[in-house]
C-alpha cells in the first residue's frame, strides 16, 4: 500500500492552513498590485497640481523662453531683489524661484531654482531643456548663417526605434525590448523567491521532524526516502498554490484598480487588440506627428508595449515557469532536505545553506545582464547549467530560446534533479538518525555509501 499520498496530504494541509500562508496569500497580491498601481496613480496625481515659478532674470535675455505647460506656469518678475523674494517665499505662494544670473550664457552653474521642496525632476528637465536650446540657438546665430530659423526647424528630429523580431519561420513579430526585459526579469525574480521560499520550507520541516524526534516513529512505517519525497512534493504544491493565488488575485486586483483609477486605460485582452487597431488606424502623416510630438511619442511606446504583450506567448511562459520551477525546486529541495537531516537545529544550517544559495544568488546577479543581452555566452552557459538555469532561462524565455538549447537545458536539469534527489535521499536517511555533533561535509559524503 502506498503511503506517500498520506504524507503529501499532511505536508500540504498543515502549511496551507497556517496563518502565515493565509497572510502571505492576501499580502502578496496587494503588494504586487500596489507596485503596479501606485506609481501610475502618483504620476497622475502629480499632474493635477499647477506649479507656479517666479523667474528673476538678471540677464534680461530669457523672457518667455521657457514655454508654459498645463501644469507649469511662470511669472517674470522685474526690478525685485532675489533676497526679498527669498525672505517672503512662504507668503508669495510660489512653487519655486528661478534665478538666472547675468552670465548665464557663459557659466553653466549660474541658474538656480530655489524652492522649499525638492523640485521634481520633470520641472528641472523642462527648464534645463529650453534654456539649453535657447542658448545654443543664440550661439549659432552669432555665426550669421542664412535661414538659420528654417534650418533649425528642419533639423529637429525624433526617433522612435521599433524592434521587429524575425522568427525562424520568417514571421515578423513586433517586440518591445523593455517589456520583454521586464517580463523576463519578473519571472527570474519570482523563480528565485519561490525556490528559496519552498526550499527552506523543506529544510525547516526536516529539522522540525528531527528535533522533535518524531522522525523515528514515522520511518518505522515508511521508508525515509518516501517521507522525504512526500514532504518535497507536498511543499511544492504549497508553493504552486501560493503562486496561483498570487497570479489570479493580482490580476483581479489590478483589473479592479484600473477600472476604478484609470477607466480610460483598461487593458483586458480583447480591448488591447482594439486599442491597437485603433492606434494603427490613426493617420501617420508627418505634419500631424510634428505637431503632437510628445503625445505621439507616448502613443508609440504604448503601441510597442501593447504589441509586445500581445505577441508574448503567456502559455509558453507559464508552462516553462512550471517546468523550471518543478525541476529547480526538486534539485534544490533535495539539497535543502539533506542539510536539514544533517544538522540538529536550525541555527546549525547556515554553514551548509550558504553553498546551496550561492548559485541562486549568482543567477540573480547575472539576471539583469541577461535580460539586457539574452543571447550572450553568459546567458547561454547560465541557462544550461542546472543550478542557475531555472532563474536564468526564465529571463531568456520571453525573448525566445532556440529549441536545441532549451532541450539541452531541460534535459540537464532533469538529470541533475534525479541525481540530487538520489544523493540527498542517501544523506537524509542516515542524517535523520544522527544526533550530537555537527557532521563535516566529508562525513556526509561517507553516509552516501552506507547500506540501508
Amino acid at each position: 500500500m502506498n503511503r506517500i499520498p498520506i504524507i503529501i496530504a499532511r505536508e500540504y494541509l498543515i502549511r496551507v492552513r497556517k496563518k502565515s500562508f493565509i497572510i502571505m496569500s492576501i499580502l502578496g497580491p496587494v503588494l504586487f498590485a500596489a507596485m503596479m498601481i501606485i506609481p501610475a496613480w502618483l504620476s497622475q496625481l502629480k499632474e493635477t497640481d499647477v506649479k507656479k515659478i517666479a523667474i528673476v532674470d538678471s540677464s534680461h535675455v530669457f523672457y518667455k523662453v521657457i514655454p508654459e505647460t498645463e501644469f507649469l506656469k511662470f511669472d517674470y518678475l522685474e526690478n525685485i531683489s532675489i533676497d526679498v523674494l527669498k525672505r517672503n517665499f512662504k507668503n508669495l505662494g510660489y512653487y519655486g524661484i528661478l534665478y538666472i544670473s547675468p552670465i548665464a550664457t557663459y557659466d553653466p552653474n549660474s541658474v538656480i531654482l530655489y524652492s522649499d521642496k525638492q523640485p521634481s525632476l520633470d520641472t528641472k528637465m523642462h527648464i534645463n531643456k529650453y534654456l539649453e536650446e535657447y542658448i545654443r540657438d543664440q550661439k549659432l546665430k552669432t555665426y550669421n548663417i542664412k535661414n538659420l530659423d528654417e534650418i533649425l526647424k528642419g533639423v529637429k528630429t525624433t526617433i522612435n526605434v521599433r524592434t521587429i523580431k524575425i522568427s525562424e519561420e520568417g514571421e515578423e513579430k513586433e517586440s518591445s525590448t523593455g517589456i520583454m526585459m521586464a517580463v523576463g526579469y519578473i519571472c527570474g525574480i519570482l523563480m528565485y523567491m519561490f525556490l528559496i521560499f519552498c526550499g527552506t520550507m523543506v529544510m525547516r520541516g526536516v529539522v522540525e521532524e528531527k528535533t522533535s524526534r518524531i522522525v523515528e516513529v514515522i520511518i518505522s512505517s515508511v521508508k525515509p526516502f518516501q517521507l522525504m519525497f512526500g514532504k518535497i512534493v507536498g511543499i511544492a504544491m504549497v508553493g504552486l498554490t501560493q503562486l496561483m493565488i498570487w497570479i489570479v488575485s493580482t490580476f483581479i486586483l489590478v483589473s479592479v484598480a484600473q477600472a476604478v483609477f484609470f477607466p480610460q486605460f483598461r487593458l483586458t485582452p480583447t480591448e488591447q487588440v482594439t486599442t491597437q487597431d485603433i492606434m494603427s488606424a490613426t493617420p501617420a502623416d508627418g505634419s500631424q506627428n510634428v505637431q503632437s510630438n510628445a503625445q505621439s511619442e507616448e502613443m508609440n511606446q504604448l503601441r510597442d508595449a501593447l504589441g509586445t504583450l500581445k505577441n508574448i506567448n503567456f502559455a509558453v511562459i507559464i508552462l516553462t515557469f512550471l517546468f523550471y520551477f518543478m525541476g529547480g525546486y526538486l534539485l534544490y529541495a533535495s539539497l535543502f532536505a539533506a542539510v536539514g537531516a544533517a544538522v540538529d537545529s536550525e541555527t546549525d544550517t547556515q554553514q551548509f545553506v550558504f553553498p546551496i544559495l550561492l548559485p541562486l544568488i549568482l543567477g540573480i546577479i547575472v539576471l539583469f545582464s541577461i535580460t539586457n543581452n539574452p543571447d550572450s555566452p553568459i546567458s547561454f552557459w547560465f541557462s544550461i547549467i542546472p543550478f542557475t538555469s531555472p532563474i536564468v532561462m526564465m529571463a531568456r524565455i520571453p525573448f525566445g530560446v532556440p529549441w536545441p538549447e532549451f532541450f539541452l537545458s531541460a534535459g540537464l536539469l532533469v538529470a541533475f534533479f534525479i541525481g540530487a534527489t538520489w544523493l540527498a535521499g542517501k544523506i537524509y536517511r542516515t542524517g535523520i538518525l544522527m544526533y550530537g555533533k555537527k557532521p563535516t561535509l566529508k562525513e556526509m559524503l561517507r553516509w552516501i555509501t552506507y547500506k540501508t
Binding site: 503511503r3 498543515i14 522540525e208 522533535s212 524526534r213 523515528e216 516513529v217 518505522s220 512505517s221 538518525l433
Partner: protein, 310 residues
C-alpha cells in the same frame, strides 16, 4: 514457536562494530527483555528489527518467513527518543501516524475515539500537542503505537520518563497486550520491571550477546547457593551449625524473628543444611535466594569486561 528471529546480525559503523553476530529468537506471545548497558547496541538492534537501518550481514525472519517490507505493518514501535509534531492537533496527528501504519481512516478514527475515551483525553482531540503534559504525550504515543493491533510490539526504554502511576498503567497495558496474544520486545535498564514482566531476556554488551534465555532458567543458572533462613532462637547457636561446608553471611533481626543468609560452599546440600539448622534453632522458613536480574546484569557485564581487557 517463535515470531521473530535474527541470524548473525552484524552492523558496523565507521569506527566500531555496533552489533557482532547477534542471533536472537523471540518466542510468540512472550515478553522479551533486551538488556544491556548504555551503548551496548540495543537501539541499533531494535532499529534493524524495524527496518529503519539495514544490517551489514545476517538475516531476519518474521513469523517463519524471511522479513519483507510488508511485515513492518505488523510491528508497532515506540522509540526511546520519541516525539510528536508540536504544532499539530492531537487527533489529526494520531490519525496521520496510524494511517501510515496502514490502518484505514474510518477504522482508525473509531479505535482512536475508543482509546481516547479510555484514557480520558477525548476533549484534547482538537488541541495542539504542545498543550499536552509530558505524561499525556506519552500516553498518546503509546496509543498510536498499539492502535493497529500489531503482532509484535517493540518498546525502547518504555518506562523512562514515566511517573510511577503511568509506569504502572503501562505495565498493565503490556500485560493485557500479552494476554491478547501479542509479542512484546522491550529494552530497559529497569531490572525490577524485567523481573516483573519478562519471560525471556537477552543481555548484550559491546555489540555481543552475553546471555539469552528464559528468565527463570537464567536465574537458576546464576544461583550462588545462598539460602535465606528465618528462625527464632539464639543467633549465636546458629553459628555452631556452620561447619566447613557452609558460611554464614549475615544475620539481621526482622520483627520478632531473625533472618540469616547462609551460603553453601558445595552445591546441592539443601537438606543437609536444613537438618543441621533444625537441631540448633526453630526454623520458620527456608528459601534459596535466587539472584536478581540486577545482580546477574552486573556480574555478567563486568565479567565480560574483564575478559575483553585480558
Amino acid at each position: 514457536m517463535e515470531i521473530f528471529r535474527t541470524e548473525n546480525i552484524v552492523k558496523r559503523f565507521s569506527n566500531h562494530v555496533a552489533l557482532d553476530r547477534i542471533s536472537v529468537s523471540v518466542p510468540k506471545g512472550s515478553i522479551y527483555g533486551l538488556l544491556g548497558p548504555n551503548g551496548a547496541g540495543k537501539t541499533t538492534l531494535l532499529r534493524i528489527i524495524n527496518q529503519i537501518t539495514a544490517p551489514d550481514e545476517g538475516e531476519l525472519f518474521f513469523d517463519g518467513h524471511k522479513f519483507t517490507g510488508e511485515d513492518i505493518f505488523h510491528i508497532g514501535y515506540l522509540p526511546e527518543e520519541r516525539g510528536l509534531y508540536k504544532k499539530m492537533k492531537v487527533g489529526e496527528q494520531a490519525l496521520y501516524l496510524v494511517q501510515l501504519k496502514g490502518l484505514p481512516k474510518k477504522e482508525a478514527i473509531r479505535r482512536l475515539k475508543e482509546w481516547f475515551e479510555k484514557f480520558e483525553i477525548i476533549s484534547w482531540w482538537n488541541r495542539k500537542v504542545e498543550e499536552l503534559s509530558k505524561g499525556m504525550q506519552q500516553k498518546l504515543q503509546f496509543v498510536i503505537t498499539i492502535l493497529h493491533k500489531p503482532e509484535l510490539l517493540i518498546f525502547d526504554e518504555p518506562f523512562s520518563g514515566f511517573d510511577p502511576i503511568n509506569a504502572d498503567m503501562l505495565k498493565n497495558e503490556i500485560l493485557t497486550l500479552k494476554k491478547e496474544g501479542a509479542t512484546i520486545i522491550f529494552s530497559t535498564h529497569d531490572m525490577g520491571s524485567v523481573e516483573e514482566l519478562c519471560d525471556h531476556i537477552t543481555l548484550i554488551d559491546n555489540g555481543q550477546k552475553l546471555i539469552e534465555g528464559n528468565i527463570a532458567t537464567i536465574r537458576k543458572q546464576y544461583r550462588s547457593n545462598i539460602y535465606r533462613v528465618c528462625f527464632s532462637g539464639d543467633p549465636e547457636s546458629i553459628k555452631q551449625a556452620m561447619d566447613g561446608r557452609y558460611g554464614l553471611l549475615d544475620i539481621s533481626a526482622e520483627e520478632d524473628n531473625q533472618v540469616a543468609r547462609i551460603q553453601s560452599l558445595k552445591p546441592s546440600v539443601d537438606n543437609d543444611l536444613l537438618a543441621a539448622l533444625i537441631q540448633k534453632v526453630q526454623v520458620l522458613s527456608f528459601n534459596e535466594e535466587l539472584p536478581g536480574m540486577h545482580d546477574i546484569f552486573i556480574r555478567v557485564v563486568s565479567e565480560a569486561k574483564k575478559n575483553n581487557t585480558r
